[in-house]
Amino acid sequence: MSENRRRLTDPVTSDSQVRVRSLRGLSRIAYAWLDERTGIRSMVRKGLYEAVPRRGAWAYTLGSATLLLIVNQLITGIFLTMIYVPSTTEGWESLNWIRGHDEFASIVRGMHLWGAYVLLFVLGLHMVRTFFSGSYKRPRETNWLSGVVLFVLVLGLSITGAMLPWDQAAYWTAVVVTNIPSYTPIIGIYLRTLWRGGEFAGPITLLRTYGIHIWILPALLFAFIGIHLYLLRKHAEFGSYVNYRGFFRTLHPRPVIPPAEQPALSEPVPPGQRELEPPYPGVPTDDEWAAPLETDDFYPDQTFKDAVVSLICIAIVFAFGIGIGAPLEAAATQNTTTYTPVPEWFYLPLDQLLVLAPKQLISLALWVPLFGLLLLVILPFVDRGRERNPFERPAVMIVGGLIVLFMLVLTALGSGRLFNL
């Protein structure tokens, strides 16, 4: 960064240097005043000054984009609470009414729905990227674990949200999803009754789901985002192996082709070299605390990229929110026989698994996602080698890649049903 660029955090030597002639001068004085009383300057400085790895920086914008999309859910969600009535008799009515009556609410609702979709997609990308870059390795195991919790919470928010409109689709989602806890051994039926507020999905179910959607899960979500970001700051962004030389890259102990025979590739293998020292934060007591070769400032370099990607995401949400909006099917009635439920797209892999599973094995199929979750949780403790280059971690990458491929295949196989093909 060039030295003569002005920074928000540059110190102002004294209030009297600045004259109250311009608005700019005034704001500087106000800032200095505030700083003296709150220490805001050092807070901002701490928040914005941070070295981040330079190479591959665009891939590290996904976390911030996720965050902004969640803020979008929060804002639109709060607006929705002002119009939506959590009741089986009036909930659908309240959403139906805004069609043609309240353009703003329609857009907000559209943005809440499409925001959830884009959020899930970007979150998936964020996970895949941290998986490939091996960001979950020591000392960042807890970053990953808090991320897994966030993942579950967002999935929970999406599925509870999908029940709220109480149209046909929502009703069937409620029936199916509130039944899932009943597969828990021993206490299953009680859990289901607790959620449903009775034996069948009905008014209390909707009210409870609403409480879960707007209070319980968001509270947990923001708490865990706090933990996630705290840990991020504690260990600093790892980024990816391309920022490190030698240490996180294997120098092949036994070349398959003896060196004399090797045809030269354009770039030679970089010499093994260790980089351990600060300025990268962390305690450089151990090899794993290596610092990237080149860093940028979080502000303005990384924040600029973050802003670009986040704004693109929001623009997409906005466009779809206006252009397509959130659908509302006919109000739920228990006694339709003609209705074929269409699954939410992000549950397609699971849904396809359930479609494929013969009746006798359905409960087995429900264990598959739990097993997947277990794999996510144990990942940082199984894959502990220091190697960060995805191409040199074949065991985890190939098996992980196969699992991702497997989910994509299931999605592709099930996608016909989304469009009632």
């Binding site: 082709i257 045809p263 354009s266 497997f406």
Partner: protein, 453 residues
């Protein structure tokens, strides 16, 4: 004007009647698939291998990819030649009228297919012949490989549209519905995965063969490694197949019940059993190879892989148990032996599709993925060039198993809808009627054929 009809030969060649025609066309198609499957697999595996080598900066990948490219350039024309033989000479000559209907329904897929051949030729030649020229511009070179991979993917997709349509036809006059007929993407995924696996096994077998014949230490190291690399691809891809194949079968059950019944319970059920057996054998071969290969270098995880090999052997035997001691279930019913074997009947309840066969398929995949994981972890300690002959023979044998599997599957698929060519719409016997009427009303299809383009 002379009446052309008088001068025409009275009918197309007999070729020993319907059976002879079916054998001629069926066997040429099997031969075609055996080569074309490899070519498609190579067009994707080759570029991927080059890219991985580039990312890992390891020359042996580049060398292997180059070898795959050479193979491609040589064999592409053979695969294409057989296709031309089958289509121009046999299909058009023997079953011209039925074939014309397929062409009319599948005009666009065939049209795109033709252009993918062009792209394939351009892609593979560019990719192969610029190898050394573009050594300093790897990015560009890999882009050629990418083009090739995409072209071959689209090529397989187009022919899958036709093949799947013949089994589960949709509305013939709606091109989008023809494309998205119910088994199109299950078949596409199934074949793409299969071609990659097939090519992986082929690489493994070739490397095994060369390893056994090389004396030079450097060559042995290379072929030892290449054999292992090919096997990893073969097993890695094949272990997706139980679920993909199962989905495919499920769609067939939903949309072409007759064909499904024939495969699962009817006259083709013993072939299907053969398929499950071969699949188990392939996983067994892979696991055995992994085990012995680690053992030869005394690398970690040998014990686990030995255990998996035993488990896979047991699973394979269990999965292959026939459901009854007769050729078809109807024969069991006819002989009044519809009882479990311990009550003197012919039925074996432990071979029921659900849960046992399905369970065995799941077990195959789970064991295979565990084996792959442990092998890849242990592989770090492997010293290349120290493999023994046994492992190499397993590599060589595995490609024959895959080939047998492919032939068997082609046989099952094409026979499951016999005598229909397009299930429920066109039969081979219509050939006679059609060639006289020059494509006019056929059962069920009459009003719905698209107008000629």
């Amino acid at each position: 004007m002379v009446d052309l009809a008088i001068q025409l030969p009275p009918h197309s060649p007999e070729f020993g009647g319907l059976l002879g025609q079916r054998i001629a066309i069926g066997s040429s198609f099997e031969a075609h698939i055996l080569i074309a499957g490899l070519v498609s697999g190579a067009s994707q595996l080759g570029p991927i291998t080059e890219w991985v080598g580039y990312m890992r900066r390891r020359p042996e990948y580049d060398r292997l990819a180059h070898g795959i490219a050479r193979f491609l350039v040589y064999y592409f024309s053979i695969g294409a030649a057989i296709a031309i033989l089958v289509i121009t000479a046999l299909l058009t000559g023997l079953w011209g009228s039925v074939w014309a209907i397929i062409n009319r329904v599948g005009f666009w897929p065939f049209f795109i297919e033709a252009w993918t051949f062009f792209l394939m030729v351009v892609g593979s030649y560019l990719w192969y012949y610029t190898w050394d020229l573009l050594r300093d511009y790897k990015g560009l070179h890999m882009a050629f490989g990418g083009l090739l991979a995409v072209a071959s993917f689209v090529q397989v997709m187009m022919i899958d549209v036709i093949a799947s349509y013949m089994l589960t036809p949709s509305q013939p006059n709606n091109p989008l519905r023809v494309f998205l007929n119910p088994t199109e993407y299950p078949l596409q995924i199934h074949r793409t995965v299969a071609n990659l696996a097939y090519m992986g096994f082929a690489v493994a077998a070739f490397a095994g063969f060369r390893y056994l014949r090389s004396k030079d230490a450097a060559k042995r190291a290379f072929f030892d490694w290449a054999g292992s690399y090919g096997m990893i691809w073969g097993i890695g891809m094949t272990l997706m197949q139980p679920i993909v194949g199962y989905s495919y079968a499920k769609e067939i059950q939903l949309h072409a019940y007759g064909a499904w019944y024939k495969m699962m319970q009817g006259t083709l059920s013993s072939e299907f059993l053969g398929q499950i057996f071969l699949l188990g054998l392939m996983f067994l071969a892979g696991s055995y190879y992994f085990w012995r290969r680690l053992h030869a270098s005394n690398a970690p995880n040998q014990g686990l892989l030995g255990l998996l090999t035993v488990l896979l052997a047991v699973t394979t035997v269990f999965a292959t148990l026939p459901a009854h001691l007769a050729f078809t279930y109807n024969q069991v019913l006819a002989s009044g032996k519809d009882r479990p074997f311990w009550e003197g009947g012919w039925v074996n309840p432990f071979a029921a599709m659900i849960p046992y066969k399905v369970g065995a398929l799941i077990a195959y995949s789970v064991f295979a993925i565990a084996g792959l994981y442990w092998y890849l972890r242990g592989q770090r300690e492997v010293v290349w060039g120290t493999a023994r002959a046994v492992e190499q023979w397993v590599l060589i044998a595995s490609v024959f198993m895959v080939a047998a599997m492919i032939v068997l599957m082609g046989f099952i698929r094409e026979n499951s809808r016999y005598p229909d060519v397009i299930a429920g719409q066109v039969q081979l016997s219509h050939q006679q009627v059609l060639s006289q009427q020059l494509i006019s009303p056929v059962t069920g299809l009459s009003g719905t054929l698209p107008p000629p383009p």
